[in-house]
Symmetry: C2
Subunit: 329 residues, 2 copies
Amino acid sequence: MSSIREVAQIAGVSPATVSRVMNGTAKVDPVKREKVLKAIEKTGFVPNEVARSLFRKSAKLIGLIIPSIQNPYFTQLASTIEEAAKEKGYRVFLCDVGIDGESIADTLQMLESKNADGVVLAAYTPDTEAYLPKLNIPVVAIDCRNSTEHVRASLYCDYYRGGRMAMEHLIETGCKNVVCIKGDQNLFSARMRYEGYRDVCTEHHIREQTVDCDYDFIAGLAMTEKLLKQFPEVDGILACNDIVAISTYKFLRKKHICVPEQVQLVGFDDIHLTRLVSPELTTIHQPITEMANRAVELLTDENREHPDMPEVFPVSLIKRETTGKDEIR
Amino acid sequence: MSSIREVAQIAGVSPATVSRVMNGTAKVDPVKREKVLKAIEKTGFVPNEVARSLFRKSAKLIGLIIPSIQNPYFTQLASTIEEAAKEKGYRVFLCDVGIDGESIADTLQMLESKNADGVVLAAYTPDTEAYLPKLNIPVVAIDCRNSTEHVRASLYCDYYRGGRMAMEHLIETGCKNVVCIKGDQNLFSARMRYEGYRDVCTEHHIREQTVDCDYDFIAGLAMTEKLLKQFPEVDGILACNDIVAISTYKFLRKKHICVPEQVQLVGFDDIHLTRLVSPELTTIHQPITEMANRAVELLTDENREHPDMPEVFPVSLIKRETTGKDEIR
DNA sequence: CTGAAAGCGCTTACAG
DNA sequence: CTGAAAGCGCTTACAG
């Protein structure tokens, strides 16, 4: 592993000159330039990023904090963020922190101490906000409630509207007994989705029926069992996300309950998986790509605008095969 | 963001002493020690990892190079590696490189220049090996053919045996016309799986029937269509991995072909998703966790053993719902 | 155009 | 036990 000094020696110039030709940061005599280039080629010299980043106080790095790499929603987010970041010359450091607040704090600290240039925070626990003021690098929150002052920006989807759309769709397709599988109400996204459902219930003079569930497959299976016991008349289910919807489907199928003929089902997120399973899942689409691009833009752009208001992205209903029992399929 | 000097000043000691109490690397007078601790507390000082890593020439970092973060096989691998690494005090830098050889080279270089302590290489292209000799950090290859000399170790599963087991299982459950969906034959895993299938065909005097396919969902859909045209008599399919098996199922279902009654189906990998879809997928299990743990061990352990031979992990057949048409389900 | 010097923020011999 | 010094491998004023 050759150093800049070695290259300089071979080329017969100073390390400063080598640095200058590498970075194109100043004019260099063409002859010396050539010599340096050759020396670099010969030695296979690659500048040490750690030294660079120590000097520059930037590692050209964006941290991405997510609660689970096993959840496709977050890997899709990660892919898009990585792509956008790459285009601007940044790498992304993906950090899977689970749902542990302390782990989020540690990770934020670690990212700062690695000279990361910013972080996209897509994991949230109630005490996360307490760690933000101490941080000296910008963070853009995704899917979280707006922790205003200590965050450069807050990006999320119109979950409330999504909850409404899903419920309205189920009513339109003939459901009389819709149960909402609520996600963890500490999560902004879960709360808003539920409130959308609830308000539509109120407007239609329907009694709300809910069950609580975490955002994962195992919880979904267990909750569906409970749901069927508690609400045997159910003919429509609004799941808190796609993974839970898929597990709900799985449990219904095991109980020989036909979807959508007997029970209609709507998920949330529109992850790729919704088109991979059979039947394909009706769901609420979130513009993941747009959010991801915007997050990177906010973190990397020169003119550091700091939107005071959260930016809300629109959602849309994607009708697929788990709803619309009256239609021909 | 306070520095060690600031802390030192507040505590009335030298930066060296602060360093010593932080790292417990030498005895420090208890009184000064207390003062330092208080100063650290007061300032919220967190040592800069970049400076540390420049000095130490280690970033306590393991790179993990994968071809796609969208493939659950690799996120499961990533989770396990991360867990094992964490236990030994390392972070993991996940790098999704696609199937582009040059991108792998860039990434290896980047990891070295970031003072990574080692890399787990789970992506492979034919020209990858050319980059390995230049590298000055250890790499453990997973799922790749043994690039012997320039790799600390090579870990993979007994894909050949897996291919055999899958085919033998299909024969046992009554299939007369098994088609093998071959993966990219540049990949060691795909080649070995196919060879297992092929040899069982030979032993049973069955003519081999194959179709080529990449390791992803889109390719799987297209290939299944082609497969049905080319082999209308098919009654068993050996897919190159679970994702492709799931897409195969999807296409069969669309064509109203029942699984496993009309066509039996076996995947490969045993990703979590196989139990999430309906019907659950019969597949060949790989001990991902064991491989991941071993990889981290080889990269981080003191006594730097360098196994000359590749380490081969056993596979097993997991019978689920897409095979065994004669059994009651 | 170019080299010597200082410095990015740490850590560890070295000398006391 | 502890501080001053040197150094990790770069980069950029600074002076020529």
